[in-house]
Symmetry: C2
Subunit: 199 residues, 2 copies
């Protein structure tokens, strides 16, 4: 005999498929759903289908968008001479949260990773090159993750762009603000020393 | 400007409402939904509404059921002279997993907790008393949680049942099998010593 009823088990399985969600958490989530009112459960289900059908990719920067263009690409007040290249839509959210950047974005949706069979054609590099044809952009800030894959992607793109006469920069490496120096790893510390600035 | 698109933010909010799910996890879950194919997303949404509409409460034991009766109450081979009283449908699953218990269940859907405004009338005690009218049941095993609320509920129910001439027992307390004695708390150890048995 199965311990759980089929519809309940199905729901648990759905939650368990998510990364980082184990069986116990999935079970707890499924019971949470059962505890909802009918209207709340319907809203929850609708939120899932809605997010899926309403959210597309921006035609210009490949970020998530409800319309043809994302809010940043629509915004006429933003500086079109700088494009910040990130791996993931969540990185755009993180940078926007600083309120310090007023340029454009380009979302690659991944990084080059031969181990996972992800080459330059599997991420949105073609779309980035196509955007640069109009000559408006003067600088590309590579804000891919500070991992082997992110580095490789940044290098690959910078080599593609150099012949086009576009400045390519990279986010600064160093010790995170508020962190304890004692716990910084050697590579980060080495980078922080190399990249030191005058005060 | 909101950092996230409305449908995405709505989905994140839905996930975040679950107990134990923080903002980062909710965000990760929402992005997981976006990464699904349309069919998968629809199946996910359907699993939520299905679980909600198809699962009701068993008319006898108040456990979750797809039909009028739950699988245990339907099963003619189970021993109707013993009823195990638990707080939550998940506890039934846990006990069933032992393959050692062949009696019936009764799910209270909570425990008496004056702090949370849950009195005897808010949990399924009336339903339990109603079941006992036929005189088939001879023993009630109180398997509520070993917490203050679980204890209070067990005590309350045992006092109600004593005049009816029904034996009321309680799950044994002691050190969990496989655990390290060193880490057992004092109350558990005291109970384990008191409840010691001859070998």
């Amino acid at each position: 005999m199965a311990y759980n009823l089929a519809p309940l088990q199905n729901l648990i399985d759905q939650f368990e498929r998510m990364q980082g969600i184990g069986n116990k958490t999935a079970q707890r989530m499924a019971f949470y759903v059962l505890s909802l009112s009918e209207e709340e459960a319907n809203n929850f289900a609708k939120a899932i289908t809605d997010a899926h059908t309403k959210i597309k990719q921006c035609k210009i920067c490949c970020d998530l968008a409800e319309d043809e263009l994302c809010p940043v690409c629509k915004d006429k007040s933003r500086d079109r001479s700088v494009i910040c290249v990130v791996e993931d839509p969540r990185d755009v959210v993180a940078i926007e949260r600083t309120h310090e950047y007023n340029g454009m974005y380009h979302v690659l949706h991944g990084a080059i990773s031969p181990m996972d069979n992800i080459g330059p054609d599997q991420i949105r590099i073609k779309e980035l090159i196509a955007r640069l044809g109009d000559g408006v952009c003067e600088e590309i800030i590579m804000a891919t993750n500070p991992t082997v894959e992110g580095e490789a992607t940044a290098m690959y793109i910078s080599r593609l762009l150099k012949p086009m006469g576009i400045t390519v920069s990279r986010l600064a490496y160093g010790v995170p603000v508020g962190a304890d120096l004692e716990y910084a790893d050697e590579v980060t510390l080495t980078r922080a020393i190399k990249g030191r600035s005058l005060i």
